[in-house]
Amino acid sequence: MRLENLSELQMDALREVGNIGAGHAATALSQMTGSPISLSNPALELVEFSAVPMLVGGAERLVAAAYCRLLGDIGGGMLLMAPRESALALIDLLHNREVGTTVSFGHAEEMLLTHVSTILSSAYLAAIARMTDMNLLPAPPSFVLDMAGAILQVATLETGMRADMALLVRTSFSDERTTVDVMLFFLPDPDSLDVILGRLGVA
């Protein structure tokens, strides 16, 4: 199954999985930071790889990203990506500080964002795993701060160049004061997507 052939019913099934995942992630992040953090219900859309750089303002736009491969019953990867400013704002939000406090990426900031990506991908994978009765785990993520276009190339290559589309999950983190938008790309290889849809009963 190629992503561009997904039916509305199949998208709904994936959306439902996404909602459950977002709930798990919000609980985990609130526990980790000790302050209530909520995640919006994720908006799920299909995007062409070639159009993704424009979503963040061009191929050369500086973005923070964490990528992890999927281990277990399916292959592919998950990529968390946000423009530099949003990523810095997310760090402030997680520290319960005024946005604008964090101005650069040091080791601690990279580690925190990498943790967030692990929590998000684990939460989504756990939701998929439970609904499909499969074994899914994220590999340890790797962080990078660089041009959006170059980061996305890696994602394209990992899907074996057989997919031209990615499943984009847009979600926003908020506490009482701030809202920060991030993008999570779910990049199953085409065979794995078949398996997931089959197990969800919408193949």
């Binding site: 050369e60 491969r69 990078v144 276009g149 170059a150 980061i151 190339q153 290559l157 160049m161």
Partner: protein, 175 residues
């Protein structure tokens, strides 16, 4: 160093320059001065420049994978080093630049993520395959900025044959 009058020294200059030919991911293009060639955001991909000093013309390819053995669907040949290098030489030959007048420069082939995956070392493999193809065609590689962990934007100035590499890590490099 010869400065072209319209050279923009800022890190990421105007992308709507009328003389610029943008080469997208997995594509290739040739052109002649006063036009110039540009490809943005090379990660593990390799940007290969070929240049003919006599006609002030050249080509730029944005190579994604080493050989067509690394999975190929129809119509995507230009993404592969094993096809793109020879194809660009062919296009330049038809445009009046014989192979023996060409020189090559290349940049890119970085490892963006440390995670080991099926695509581990793809940057190095891309660079190695481009070099092998150049060797087969006896085209000298006279400048190179490959490897490491950062993204690069590449420009080929067709009057001087200068390859301009822009990155967040090192700023503007002219090779």
């Amino acid at each position: 160093m010869i400065m072209t009058s319209d050279f923009d020294d800022t890190l990421f200059p105007n992308l709507n320059h009328p003389e610029m030919i943008e080469v997208g991911v997995g594509e290739l293009a040739i052109g002649q001065h006063p036009r110039y060639l540009m490809t943005p955001a090379l990660g593990s991909c390799v940007g290969l420049c070929l240049w003919d000093a006599a006609l002030k013309q050249g080509g730029l390819a944005h190579v994604m994978l080493p050989t067509t053995l690394d999975s190929m669907t129809n119509g995507t040949e230009r993404r592969f080093a094993s096809f793109a290098v020879a194809e660009m030489v062919h296009l330049l030959h038809e445009a009046g630049s014989p192979r023996r007048r060409l020189v090559a420069k290349m940049a890119g082939g970085a490892t963006m993520f440390r995670t080991e995956g099926t695509m581990a070392h793809i940057g190095e493999r891309n660079a190695a395959e481009v070099k092998r193809q150049l060797d087969l065609l006896s085209i000298p590689l006279i400048a190179e900025d490959t490897g490491e962990r950062h993204a690069r934007t590449l420009e080929l100035r067709l009057d001087t044959g200068e390859m301009v590499v822009r990155s967040y890590l090192y700023g503007v490099h002219r090779l």
